[in-house]
């Protein structure tokens, strides 16, 4: 390890110097983030092992083990279909709609709600090891993906039982899921930093996600009606994350607009995540 450390004081003599300094800071931050991520990727055995241990620990004393994740998903899905099935709709179609909606929504809720307290949960590791921060991000991402895997198994069974035939459109849904997976580490990083700087956000975000379920077309269907649902559908970013997975299977169409919006949101979140990781990764140890 080698290094000269100093407290640089940027004094902007004019606007150009200020812009140059800002650009240099951003480039340095991006380099730092890339360094952290590449180190974490080389240590993939660490976060894979820890994520598997996490899942095992959560269900170690139970009879069903991680299968409880599948039971939870099916039970909630059944309850929503039983309670909210609109009059006149066919039960099978609505079941498929809710099955996919809940799958994506629960995944998004889990990664956002849990990531706010990520660095606090990893405090002993952060204060005692030199592991890159992105290791903790990937540990949580993999944990959430494993948990979602059980729900996906339940979802596929429900889709087949509801009469949705396997066809080429499912590949677009698979691409939608893949896109969500790509955005996952960035989302976790951004909310983890939010939680480190603003501890109250753990409860604010938790409450917002609980309320957000009712403002997102998880179990209600938007058919072009006016009112709150119109705005909740169009101006809610979560809508598009749901639609890229749901629309191809439910209607057989390719939701280009939803894919485009999801792509732009994901890129923006990745940009913020890289800047936060590069700029503040060494400060986190003093914040938790």
């Amino acid at each position: 390890m080698k290094g000269d450390f100093g407290c640089p004081i940027a004094i902007g003599y004019d606007a150009i110097q200020q812009k140059t300094a800002t650009l240099e800071t951003m480039i340095a931050a991006l380099n730092g983030a890339v360094d952290d991520i590449s180190k974490a990727m080389r240590l993939h055995r660490v976060w894979v092992a820890l994520a598997r241990e996490d899942i095992g620990d959560q269900h170690r004393r139970t009879t069903l083990g991680p299968l409880w994740l599948l039971v939870n998903y099916v039970a909630l899905m059944g309850t929503f279909v039983f309670v909210f099935q609109p009059a006149g709709n066919d039960a099978a179609g609505y079941s498929a709609y809710v099955a996919i909606g809940l799958l994506v929504w629960f995944y998004l809720t889990e990664i956002i709600s849990l990531s706010v307290s990520l660095f606090q949960r990893e405090e002993s590791f952060i204060e005692g090891t030199t592991l890159p921060l992105f290791v903790y991000v990937m540990r949580m991402a993999l944990q959430s993906i494993i948990r979602a895997g059980y729900a996906i198994a339940g979802c596929i069974v429900i889709l087949l039982l509801s009469g949705s035939a396997l066809n080429a459109a499912w590949l677009w849904s698979l691409a939608g899921l893949f896109m969500i997976l790509l955005a996952t580490p960035a989302v976790i990083t951004v909310f983890a930093f939010l939680g480190a700087f603003f501890p109250d956000s753990e409860f604010i975000v938790g409450n917002m996600m609980r309320v957000g379920m009712f403002f997102t077309p998880v179990f209600w269907v938007y058919n072009g009606q006016d009112g709150v649902q119109k705005y909740a559908y169009h101006w809610n970013p979560f809508t598009y994350f749901l639609e890229i997975v749901r629309v191809p299977i439910i209607s057989g169409e390719l939701p280009m607009h939803a894919f485009a919006v999801t792509g732009i949101i994901s890129l923006a979140v990745w940009a913020i995540a890289l800047l936060l990781l590069g700029r503040y990764r060494k400060q986190v140890v003093f914040l938790i």
């Binding site: 290094g3 000269d4 055995r45 092992a49 241990e53 620990d57 700087f197 914040l287």
Partner: protein
């Protein structure tokens, strides 16, 4: 060549007043040191002007009252805290024992914990497998190695942690008050292993309040006070006579 060179290292961090809806919390988190400034701009001067050099075979004991900066300095050497000023050059593979519970999973067996801890320290699976029996033998845990970590006493956990940290021949070993948990016979065994490590041209930095431990293990003693070097004592290997050098604090 294994070496540590620190020149005028300082560590200053701002006390972040977290944006919160709750009443202001005046407690100070993080490492010790002096608090400077007032109001919203408060800074902790955790380390100030620390300079020293260690070469192969040196065993440095860090002493000082609580909050003097011993653990903070160890964490700077390990790379957890990035210094605010000065320069640092470390040659050699560094391993550290700060807290015996870090990296251990309570539900997993000792054997599984060796694998996890090894991965965290950057070992490969084959390196861990090669050293497994040696680590278990040195820790003297016997059949307990296949029981969950939560069934271990503090002493057993310390033995396992020390055994692992020293088994892959770290060139530089940093330790923070680890030894208190082990029994007398294990402490003797641990001292012998540290001697072996230092003789193999390694460097040991040990922070402790236990003066007799520092005297028996270390060849140099650095006394810290409020984040500054108060004195650096160098002792001949034979430990017959103590030569004391008081360093002037760099400004």
């Amino acid at each position: 060549m294994v070496s540590i060179k620190l020149h005028n290292i300082s560590l200053v961090y701002r006390l972040h007043e977290k944006v919160t809806l709750s009443a202001p919390d005046r407690r100070v988190a993080g490492p010790g040191g002096r608090i400077e400034g007032s109001g919203r701009k408060q800074f902790v001067q955790a380390l100030d002007g620390i300079s020293f050099e260690l070469k192969a075979g040196d065993r440095l004991g860090l002493v000082g009252p609580n909050g003097a900066g011993k653990t903070t300095l160890l964490k700077v050497l390990y790379g957890i805290y990035e210094p605010s000023g000065g320069s640092i050059a470390i040659e050699g593979k560094v391993d550290a024992l700060f807290n015996i519970n870090i990296g251990f999973r309570r539900e997993a067996t000792g054997r599984r914990n060796i694998v996890l801890r090894g991965l965290i320290s950057g070992w490969t699976e084959s390196e861990i497998e090669e050293k497994m029996e040696e680590i278990i033998a040195f820790s003297e845990l016997g059949d307990f190695i296949d029981l969950p970590f939560k069934s271990y006493s503090q002493g057993m956990a310390a033995r396992l942690a020390f055994s692992m940290a020293t088994s892959l021949d770290p060139e530089i070993l940093l330790m923070d008050e680890w030894i208190g948990a082990g029994d007398a016979s294990f402490q003797d065994k641990a001292k012998r292993r540290m001697d072996e490590l230092a003789e193999k041209a390694g460097i040991i930095v040990l922070a402790s309040h236990n003066e007799s431990l520092i005297e028996s293990v270390c060849t140099k003693k650095l006394t810290l006070k409020s984040g500054q070097v108060e004195s650096l004592t160098t002792k001949p290997i034979k430990r017959s006579r103590t030569e004391k050098t008081v360093l002037s604090r760099p400004r």
